[in-house]
Amino acid sequence: MQMRLRLSSWLVAQFPAPLWGDHPIRSYTPQVYTPCIVRRMSIPHTLLGLLESGPRHGYDLKKTFDERFGHDKPLHYGQVYSTMSRLLKNGLVEVDGVEAGGGPERKRYAITEAGITDVRTWLATPEKPEPYLTSTLYTKVVLALLTGRDAADLLDTQRAEHLRMMRILTDRKRTGDLADQLICDHALFHLEADLRWLELAAARLDKLGKAVGA
């Protein structure tokens, strides 16, 4: 038998008005998705973390950061040096040597004990859970309900669009390196979560719509 979900206005009440800015689905491509993660990431902590495996020069730090986290949005040298001088001032790194030729990128930095503690604390502190994308989808589903439209239709169209993106990401995972795979998986799970919410909402809101005679 078809599973019948109980009619409930609970669902409508459960979803807060969108708190987070607009994130069009198009921004979920790996190219733009990476900076999305990066933007949410603390650059000082990340640079500190990269120093844990051993001292590095400024240019080497930038290069490693870009390779692992930057993709098409590399750090500016200026960002690296302002960050490093702040870390230096706070005693989280120390200068381990200067290469001939001068220039700030020739400085070699090493992490201090305080720096290691700082990274440990950062890693141990949970991030605030953030709903990413629901705002537009939420609005559309509620509008579909209020105007008596077919939420299932909206779901099918959105699913098709999501799947188009998910196929690209899945394909990229097949050929990419480990960092690529992790980034794609991160995006894939979020896209799937959108769809699961939409599916649930569509199943309930269709019935709710009929009940309220919207």
């Binding site: 078809q2 699913r159 098709a160 999501h162 799947l163 196929r167 899945t170 799970f189 699961r196």
Partner: protein
Amino acid sequence: MSPATEPTARPAPAGSLLVADDLHKAYGATDALAGANFSIHAGEVVAVMGPSGSGKSTLLHCLAGIVPPDSGTLTYNGRDLGAMSDGERSALRRSEFGFVFQFGQLVPELTCLENVALPLRLSGARRKEAERTALGWMERLEVHDVAGQRPGEVSGGQGQRVAVARSLVTGPRVLFADEPTGALDSLNGERVMELLTEAARATNAAVVLVTHEARVAAYSDREIVVRDGRSRDMERAV
């Protein structure tokens, strides 16, 4: 109004391997299929999605000639499935089709190797020959190390890969998979999908993949959606 409510009379693309047109199937008062269309060509992976109870499994069973539809036509490789005798249909299933289901499909009394070799044995292959081919597929699905174990002695993920190996051992032209990863965690599920689609692509087999998981469906080339027994081809719908 959903376009699916007016069955489209658009013809299936040329070169289709398996085509279903306007399938209807009722169980008592339940219309499990109410005008479903489907087509797939060789080497294509098509996901069948839709809510629980919408008719996905019924569609798969009809396409595979396991369940006869009440009306509508089914053509495999230019042959009308409805015009065949039961015997002809099961012969076709054994030689051309492969099947993977969600769980409980391996014969518990047989070893994994014997399970994989079973379809070959059923079509008359000698034991040695059958098991040699079977072991090759088990290697491909990375489960040759459990060849001597019984299904009860392997993990869910391994069991499912054994089932996939068995579905491919006869070199089917169409692989029917109903929630093949439904009982697995995401890591195992993805591995099964990777190996399954890789193997299917390598042999140019078509795959009909019923799933409600978008991450699983993302391994397909395109999807159709079944809703209240009607199918909607999301590619040709736009």
